[in-house]
């Protein structure tokens, strides 16, 4: 399985154009933006004022924001699109490049799909980690140049708390990535084309991110107020709820518009279970579809 993972990693990593546009663009973009702002702030007082005003005022919050873009609605609507596009292209590319006929006879299909998922997720996580680092280091550097504070000074306590928060947030982001990687796999298996894979996986992700709005619409159309409670079983809600329990120690409430929620206070473990069922189910579905699929191209 390790060699299979290495093979998938090598394939993904070698697709330089794709990774540059959809994966490395995040850390490179962050780095370039902050570098330009720092340089301009040295030349112009107006830009300097802009740099001072830019950011959330704390390097820890800046660093975590990039992970949160994968978790919370509405940021996740856009934050997940780049990794999702990347994953969809990689899965569907195997069909478009007609390369499945080379690799499928060499190993078990389930191993192939899981190794690809693992390689894709690891690459996105590396990119997110780099972006999170740049998102915290660059604003601090910019402010230091002008002798301005930006968040607390680094100490063992601050670093320890920050690392713990990062690990917790990154884990929830990882769950979100597991969710979208299965969307990408299913879309590619069903459509067998890059364009089709992109469109269908975007469709899944948008439906997931906007599930509350969708349920509100459905509730209105069918005149069944209790339908809104289904939101408690969606990935988007449960990702937020996990985050709320980890950071605030309480349930994430949502707009139930006068209807008593089905579960009054969904616990951390409730959300963990719902997400496990969603992700396990989606991955199992993608494996089942791929296992049964006829490779005719």
């Amino acid at each position: 399985m390790l060699k299979l993972y290495q093979a998938e990693w090598r394939k993904v990593f070698a697709n330089f154009k794709l990774t540059s546009f959809l994966i490395w663009i995040l850390p490179i973009g962050y780095f370039a933006f902050h570098s330009v702002m720092i340089l301009l702030s040295l030349l112009s007082g107006t830009v300097q004022a802009g740099v001072e005003a830019f950011g959330l005022g704390d390097w820890r919050t800046d660093s975590l924001t990039i992970w949160n873009m994968l978790i919370f609605f509405p940021a996740n609507l856009f934050g997940r699109m780049l990794p999702l596009a990347f994953m969809a292209v990689v899965f569907a590319g195997e069909y478009q490049w007609r390369t499945l006929k080379n690799i499928v006879p060499r190993t078990k299909r389930w191993k192939l799909l899981l190794a690809k998922m693992a390689a894709l997720i690891s690459l996105v996580m590396v990119s997110m980690l780099l972006t999170a680092l740049i998102a915290s280091i660059m604003p601090v550097t910019g402010h230091r140049i002008h002798d301005l504070p930006y968040g607390p000074t680094l100490s063992a306590q601050v670093l320890g708390d920050f690392l713990l928060d990062t690990v917790r947030t990154a884990l929830i982001a990882l769950i979100s990535l597991l969710n979208i990687v299965s969307y990408a796999a299913i879309a590619a298996i069903l459509t067998r084309s890059i364009l089709g894979g992109l469109l269908v996986s975007f469709g899944f992700a948008v439906l997931d991110a906007t599930s509350l709005g969708f349920l509100l619409l459905l509730r209105g159309l069918l005149n069944k107020p209790e339908l809104i409670n289904l939101y408690q079983f969606t990935p988007t809600y449960n990702l937020s709820n996990l985050h709320a329990w980890l950071f605030l120690g309480k349930t994430q409430h949502f707009i139930s518009a006068g209807v008593a929620p089905l579960i009054a206070e969904p616990s951390f473990w409730f959300s963990a279970l719902v997400l496990a069922i969603w992700i396990g189910g989606l991955i199992a579905l993608s494996l089942w579809l791929f296992q049964r699929q006829e490779i005719t191209e």
Partner: protein, 314 residues
């Protein structure tokens, strides 16, 4: 007794359902013994690639079974000793030849840089090994495809149209390559091809399929010998010879092939030759030479597939 390299039993493959259903392979039964070079022939859409895809477990049979070395093709173990080039050589265009082979090797669960290097050399791509495959010609991709098929040092090579897109030089190289794999390295080769001249030269046995049905299967020599062939005779006097032949066998003489008042050509099963000679001698015709104009595999293929098509249309 060792299991045959390939055994296909009553294989049927149907694509689609209801009115859209297409029967790509119909009740195909075939056996390829280890050590043979087996030609699998048929026109476009005959079911050759479908059969090969079943062997590689890329698609599943609707009915019947297929085995590689006695192991069902649905098991990964059946393909441990098999290398294949299925319907053209396709690779990741953004990766080098070297990286493509490394990826395939690792996908099989191994990593043998020396073997990859040796194979790249053997297919003549060492100077282009680090270049992106996207810039390769069809012939170069085919050669890389052969290297990929040989990665696991297989004892059975399944080659689906390996000469597609190759120039005459490439076809010659491919023929040499197949012969070498079979006769020098003792590999079994299952070769699907349109290049009948190539097949005739390298294959021990052939099977001809059309519209999913097996039409003919056997040793190349036997199939061609047993078939109706042209017999050329140098005789004197030719007029008496023509009378004798027409009296015994009817309209088998080709008037256009009566040459120099000495040569005549007739179309008969080759096992009739001694009887023809005996009858001519009995009639006091002098027989100086007898030669067989054996049909080529191409002629046999066209005759067999045309007959089958007429049968289907009838």
């Amino acid at each position: 007794m060792p299991a045959p390299a390939i055994r296909i039993e009553h294989l049927t493959k149907v694509f689609g359902k209801g009115d859209q259903a297409v029967q790509a392979v119909r009740d195909l039964t075939l056996e390829v013994d280890a050590g043979q070079v087996f030609g699998f022939l048929g026109p476009n859409g005959a079911g050759k690639s479908t059969t090969i895809r079943v062997l590689m477990d890329l698609i599943r049979p609707t009915q019947g079974e297929a085995f590689l070395f006695g192991i069902p093709t649905s098991s990964l173990d059946s393909r441990n000793k098999v290398g294949a080039l299925v319907e053209g050589a396709d690779f990741y265009p953004f990766m080098s030849a070297w990286d493509n082979l490394v990826v395939l090797d690792r996908t099989s669960g191994s990593y043998q840089p020396d073997r990859i290097s040796e194979l790249i050399d053997s297919v003549g791509l060492s100077e282009r090994a680090r270049q992106r495959v996207g810039g390769f010609s069809t012939g170069m991709k085919q050669r890389l495809g052969l290297a990929a098929a040989l990665l696991n040092d297989p004892v059975l090579l399944i080659l689906d149209e390996p000469t597609n897109g190759l120039d005459p030089g490439g076809i010659q190289e491919m023929r040499t390559f197949i012969g070498e794999q079979a006769h020098t390295f003792g590999k079994t080769v299952f070769l699907s091809s349109h290049m009948l001249n190539e097949v005739e030269q390298v294959c021990d046995r052939v099977a001809i399929i059309n519209k999913g049905l097996l039409l003919m299967e056997g040793q190349v020599g036997t199939l061609l010998e047993s078939d109706v062939s042209q017999i050329r005779l140098q005789v004197r006097p030719i007029g008496r010879a023509c009378k004798v032949i027409t009296a015994h066998w009817g309209d088998v003489l080709d008037p256009a092939e009566i040459l120099d008042d000495r040569w005549l050509t007739l179309t008969l099963p080759s096992d009739q030759t001694p009887i023809v000679v005996a009858e001519l001698v009995k009639a006091n015709v002098q027989v100086f030479q007898v030669t067989h104009n054996r049909r080529s595999l191409e002629e046999l293929f066209i005759a067999v597939t045309n007959n089958a098509s007429e049968g289907v249309h009838a």
